[in-house]
Amino acid sequence: MLFSIVSLVLMTADHRTHYLDVVRGQLLMVIYPLQLAVDLPIKAASWVAESISFRKTLVRENEGLRRDRLLLSARLAKFADLEAENNRLRGLLDSSVKIADRVLIAEVLAVDLDPFSRRLVINKGTGDGVVVGQSLIDSNGIMGQVVSAGPVSSNALLITDPSHALPVQLNRNGLRTVAVGTGSLSLLSLSHIPNNSDVRIGDLVVTSGLGGRFPSGYPVGRVVSIERDRSQAFAQVMIKPSAHLERNREVLLVWSSSEAEVVQSAMPNRGAPKW
């Protein structure tokens, strides 16, 4: 009886307030060895596969990567030039200059969590400067955000979770909306889009940066279906996330500019590569 009441109080406290975040963080530390134990065989398998692969394949892969790198660095050089120009123009317009985001590579542990929500465990925690609310991306787009951070590991909520909403805009015309998770792996829905608005299939959706939680301008997905029903107030627009949500082994943690300043002033000697 007593324990039931304690559980109810705990649940309420956890749901409504943030007092228990510290407790949860510490308990995550206790769980971490277990998660590592689960992850170990999978990691070992990929290590074995890597170490017995043929020299020829490795050489070919290496060549491919080299080519990609050359291509990307050439493109990056161009981007650096464009960024400088952009900053200069923004300076002329007296608008705020976008500060570069700081990133850190984290590894996803292969563990299953609650089957009713879409979550991930990553192997970076508050010790690496991770904070709750930080966003998670891969090379193709936004993946989610950190919801609880322990000392060495943290849990992240994916954008497809039904309780997740993400402020976005259409890249083509800047139409602002909110992308809500559906619980299915490969679909998000855009809410409150009027029937007569200018949305087309294939439109790129990017983060708008409103709300200050996600950095702006990262791709979220592409519009795959639009249903305009005259009897409904809003059109039903579905987008397919561009990030590989459940196939990644490595993800990037992003500190958007305001957070990055706080973190960098707090830990001056732990600089991750600045982009």
Binding site: F3, S4, V6, S7, L8, V9, L10, M11, A13, D14, H15, L20, V23, R24, L27, L28, V30, I31, L34, Q35, A37, V38, I42, A110, V111, D112, L113, D114, P115, F116, S117, R119, V147, S148, N155, P162, S163, G183, L185
Partner: protein, 160 residues
């Protein structure tokens, strides 16, 4: 201290159950994963009720909450209610043949699972209806094996 024997065997079984709970399995099978921790808790509550009870069940539930990222206390609530009922009926259930024990386990895990899912419902998370039945069903099907394995463990390492 003579009565406390083989505590580490209990610990190991619990750790194995926690590992099985997070072992990655394909998406379609996720709803059919039996509740390993609940099975282990039921077994030890029946086998050594004077050692394993509400407190340990509740703490395990709390660990499960942290592990699966649910609200703190969600699994703990179901777990301690389930442990309480198990303690109340353990003398009647442990003399039954295995399949009838399985049916009782179905009931126990059903209570635990339903309480947990209700909390999800209260939070407004969508819950697939099949989950109310699939988890207790799989737990019932697996109970005879769990029982035999854990009984052998208990005899081998003389846990009492």
């Amino acid at each position: 201290m003579e009565r406390r024997h083989g505590g580490w065997a209990i610990t190991v079984s619990v750790v194995v159950a926690l590992i099985l709970t997070t072992l990655p399995i394909p998406d379609w099978a996720a709803l059919w994963r039996p509740s390993w921790v609940a099975l282990v808790v039921v077994y030890w509550c029946m086998a050594v009720p004077e050692r394993f009870g509400l407190v340990l069940g509740w703490l395990l539930g709390l660990i499960l909450d942290v592990q699966s990222g649910t609200l703190l206390g969600q699994h703990a609530l179901g777990m301690c209610v389930m442990a309480f009922i198990t303690l109340a009926i353990h003398q009647r259930v442990r003399v039954l043949p295995l399949w009838q024990q399985g049916v009782s386990v179905f009931g126990l895990v059903f209570i635990y699972n339903t309480l947990t899912l209700w909390v999800n419902g209260v939070q407004g998370k969508p819950v697939e209806a099949v989950a109310y039945w699939s988890v207790p069903f799989m737990s019932m099907v697996l109970w005879p094996w769990i029982y035999i394995i854990l009984r052998d463990v208990r005899r081998r390492f003389r846990v009492y």
